[in-house]
Symmetry: C2
Subunit: 385 residues, 2 copies
């Protein structure tokens, strides 16, 4: 179990989650010659013949909750190149990074637990944290955590420092160092969500904030949905050694382990010689889409809104010059066949999001972007009049 100071921060619910007795038994099953009547493993001879080219039949049987060892090693080695201190034992494979949010929420959040988030931030994280009863606080001046009484400090801080969803914002080096220093000073665990880091269209600082930590506990998570394929539902997290074993238990209770077929496909991709080249090609496609989108935005919406062209990620974040509630624009926009996300939903305090909206640029074709943004401009112009 973790140190008492950390333990006091964990969800009261977590005390009820014992390590599975099966886990303890499984730990010795790898010994040569071991006869197991313990699990409920189907006989391998009953498995279907699936025509998956070079994929091993081994991915059809149950696997470890932590993830397949070769993939964990590969992820750990990639994370070390980003500056994280991380062994394969610190990696947990996820059924998409949304699952990491569920597991971390289960780990820390009781009713009324304070949790620090950015504003705006990823809306499905806000939903999950609220579901478990979190009291959401906005990260404004992290330095103040160190001055607050321990009980008032957030159970953890959730941040998306690189090409944030929805704002597209990317922290500079000083901001990264300052956030890490605050977490260290106040012993606030850092939960860093980093699904967009590979979609970088300009050179910019992308060192994980977790790499700057010296003492605080941490969870860093990433996704294979953006750079490989979302339909396979695969992501990963790495965590400080005090948290990882608890997260593994929660993972086991949630879905035993992630699809081994997806794990196999992702590992094969990561180890292929063409992976870097493929990423370059993806980034080039998205950069072109972003630039084209920016030109149409400029033409259609410059008089009505302001924005920064994002250096990475998948979104433009607009602030209207007249702060109207963009939720009211949604129905008429959908009627004209154009969908967008009102900014209010991304704010822990929704009123703070008035007059903002998020536009995804990666999905629509060039022609759709032209027609959709023209229609939006007309609606916004009318709403602001």
């Amino acid at each position: 179990m973790p140190a008492p100071a950390l333990h006091a921060r964990l969800s009261r619910r977590l005390c009820g989650l014992e390590s599975s007795p099966i886990r303890e038994v499984l730990a010795v099953l790898e010994r040569p010659g071991m006869i197991s009547f313990a699990g409920g493993l189907p006989a391998a001879q009953t498995f279907p013949r699936i025509d998956l080219g070079r994929l091993a039949r081994g991915c059809l049987q149950y696997g470890p909750s932590e993830g397949d060892p070769a993939l964990r090693r590969r992820v750990a080695s990639d994370l070390r190149r980003l500056g994280l201190t991380c062994t394969a034992e610190q990696v947990l494979i996820l059924s998409g990074s949304q699952q990491g949010i569920d597991l971390v929420a289960k780990l820390f959040i009781d009713p009324d637990t304070p949790v620090a988030v950015e504003s705006p931030t990823y809306l499905a994280a806000l939903q999950v944290f609220r579901f478990f009863g979190a009291r959401l606080e906005t990260i404004e001046t992290p330095a103040r955590w160190a001055r607050a009484a321990p009980a008032e400090r957030p159970a953890f801080a959730y941040v998306i420092p690189t090409f944030q969803n929805p704002s597209g914002r990317c922290y500079g080096t000083d901001e990264r160092r300052a956030l890490a220093a605050s977490c260290d000073a106040a012993s606030v665990p850092l939960f860093e969500d980093d699904p967009y880091r590979e979609l970088a269209y300009e050179a910019c600082e992308r060192t994980p904030v977790c790499a700057y930590l010296r003492r605080a506990s941490w969870v860093y998570q990433g996704s294979f949905s953006k750079s490989f394929a979302p339909g396979l539902r695969l992501g990963f997290l790495a965590a400080s050694p005090d948290l990882l074993p608890l997260l593994v238990r929660l993972k086991q209770a949630a879905d035993l382990h992630s699809s081994r077929l997806s794990q196999q496909l992702v590992l094969r991709h990561l180890e292929s010689r063409s992976a870097a080249q493929r990423l370059d090609a993806i980034v080039a496609i998205y950069r072109r889409k972003r630039d084209r989108f920016a030109r149409v935005l400029e033409r259609e919406l410059a008089a009505l809104a302001e924005w920064r062209v994002p250096a990475g990620g998948l979104f433009f974040w607009l602030r209207l010059r007249t702060a109207i509630d963009t939720r009211n624009l949604l129905a008429p926009a959908l009627e004209r066949g154009v969908a967008f996300m009102p900014g209010e939903f991304f704010h822990p305090d929704r009123a703070q999001g008035t007059g903002t909206l998020r536009l995804n640029f990666s999905h629509a074709t060039a022609d759709q972007a032209e027609r959709g943004l023209a229609a939006l401009a007309e609606l916004i112009g009318r709403g602001a009049a």
Copy 2:
């Protein structure tokens, strides 16, 4: 939202889980000609070429939380043949049926919520229910629920009526009807877990208990792990119309949706002409393994324990003639290279499990079964002496 009576039974935490704004938008995105800047869908042209024979590239993109429509339709039609009243809209595809346990626990369990379970029952369900704070009650005479005050009635009853893990027990028709009638009379939702139903080695009653319900809310779940392949992590649930929309939201918050590749493979399997034949072959393999295991058990352990030969499933459940704590046998057994599961862990009140153990017969080879059971017999004989 569900009816007030049901609503009062749900977890307090659930009130915090709003429907995702993205869900509402996604609902209209299917309209022809719709331009979407709403989601964060990767561009399909960035997806890898995966050599999966006839599998559609369509399974690489994000998909619906409920599951792919064709698979939901297929599952619903299979469930109707079992006697359930069930449309495709009542089906939710799961990342393995362990996930259904997590979702139902999130749906119903607050600290100190009473939950009725069998004793013994599936240990990973006990773990999850305990984690969310459940007060576990043993299902002894379900009829008494109807007499209890509503506040004292369990939030739901969790049962594995067919080839139960760990006991191998299969409810008869009268027991199925009686349980359903109790749930109806007391308005106790029924959560029926049915992962082993296809592994039937003798003719026996397998109609879902949920098919006998007239009024009570219900969740019925099944797995593709036993009859297809566990490594793909795919299962499903069907639920009464009052519960399904809530479970979909919880699923979305947990992992967005299940691997579409796994869904595609399972659908292809279910629709293949050889599926029934393959199941017959699997059942024949397991029946042979069970019969061989039963013969060795009889020779080695008849003097030390009693059991019934299970009509289906993957386990023998032994009760020792001398009630020793089988947890104490585990370490010496592992030392000799034999693993089994002590029965204590499967009981909500562990003391009730003294002298019981679970033996899986599907994984060990014939030779391993011989050697393993001989070693166990020796240890048990010595422990009982």
